[in-house]
Amino acid sequence: MAEEVKLFRTWSSPYALRIVWALKLKGIEYETIFEDLTNKSPSLLQYNPTHGKVPVLVRDGKPVCESLVILEYVDEIWKHNPLLPQDPYEKSMARFWANFGDDKLMKSIWQLFIAHEKDQDVAAVAALENLKIVEEQLKGKKFFQGETIGYLDLAFGWIANLVSILEEIMSLKLVDGERFPHLSSWIQHFIDAPVIRDCWPPRDKMIIKFQVMRENYLAAATPK
């Protein structure tokens, strides 16, 4: 039975990448619709009227929104190559860490990225603390859930790409091999994984985009 699967995304969204990877891991054919978020398509607004955000996965006309919700949905619909652990306790741990990644880690790295020089030291402390917590989780493991890529690797996948881009723009090294040997090793494994490596957005385009974003934030927040 042919299913119709569509993914609404932008070229740069790290959240949408999670779904690209998940669908690739499951070997699912789908149509990609690239959105310009400054000029959202009527379809996107129809499928995600509440937030108007990407990614949105539409399967047989039914939309699913929010990347972590979509990951769970994908895992429940296509049960081969499972992304999440089966055991409820292990599953709850995976969900906890995915939320930590989004709520705490990403936010603290972003705060550092848009901080004025005078505020960078304080912002860096929080970012490094959160990175250290993630580092602990990777001890003795190739990927977050063991030997193979799973839900939590996809949830944290943005670290493997976006962090080095932000580091380059800031001229600041956050994740170095000495302080974060396990995280650095995970990044190498993840970035080179066959399912993952062909999906990264063009680095030079990302650098320009985030450079501009940073300049706008710094200008807007310039103290009088």
């Binding site: 509440t50 769970e72 306790y89 969900r95 939320n99």
Partner: protein
């Protein structure tokens, strides 16, 4: 590995009486008919156990099941539903389940903070915060539509996560003479709240109204007592700093 119904099962909940996040977990446990030991935390003097079981956030609620801690209320709700399969709080169909998760997130991340902000508004901030809260409630009212509960005929995850709207917020807003969530503006949601608060798994764990009102005395409104309150409650949402 837990064995359902076994006498060896030990379920403990570390909570704080006023926290709607803790309330969510209690309601879910009540729906499933699970016996548990409740431990009230003093958030100004957290127990070594709490710090041990939730070292990352040091917050309640923490569910302890056979010695294993699960934290974050929404994560706990999913765990409860997957561990005890009677009276499910999430739909079985993956699409409906995804919808429920989406709306639970909306209530948790968009509705609760907006309503919370109205409680802590100064008179200058109130109208703007109220406008935001009204917008969010409107979306929720539309989503509820003609259903008795968000979960259909019986309460489900979205209803549970919205417990603050279903009970405490109405009590607090009445005491503070706020006019955010009114029957006129949100007739469906109002009726939902009445039905929700009357469900027995919910009624069992609602805080006494007088104690709730005493916790939010009218004197707080407009004063810069936000930070002390926040440190007492240690809720995830950070109320905005009151204007000087």
């Amino acid at each position: 590995m837990s064995s359902r119904g076994s006498k060896m099962e030990e379920v403990k909940l570390f909570g704080y009486w006023v926290s709607p996040f803790c309330r969510s977990v209690e309601i879910a446990l009540n729906i499933k008919g699970i016996q548990y030991e409740y431990i009230e935390e003093d958030l100004t003097n957290k127990s070594p156990q709490l710090l041990q079981y939730n070292p990352v956030y040091k917050k309640i609620p923490v569910l302890l099941h056979n010695g294993k801690p699960i934290v974050e209320s929404m994560v706990i709700l999913e765990y409860i539903d997957e561990t005890w399969k009677n009276n499910p709080i999430l739909p079985e169909d993956p699409f409906e389940k995804a919808r429920a998760r989406f709306w639970a997130n909306f209530v948790d991340q968009k509705c609760f903070p907006a309503l919370w902000k109205t409680i802590w508004s100064t008179s200058e901030q109130y109208e703007q915060n109220k406008a935001e809260a009204l917008e969010r409630l409107k979306v929720l009212e539309n989503e509820l539509g003609g259903k008795r509960f968000f979960g259909g005929d019986s309460i489900g995850m979205v209803d549970i996560v919205a417990n603050f709207i279903g009970f405490s917020f109405r009590t607090i807003q009445e005491a503070l003479k706020l006019d955010v969530f009114t029957e006129d503006n949100f007739p469906k949601l109002w009726e939902w709240a009445e039905n929700f608060a009357n469900c027995s798994p919910v009624k069992k764990c609602l805080p006494p109204q007088d104690k709730l009102i005493a916790n939010f005395p009218p004197a707080y409104m407009g004063k810069t007592l936000v930070s002390s309150f926040q440190s007492r409650l240690q809720l995830q949402f950070h109320p905005p700093a009151a204007a000087k």
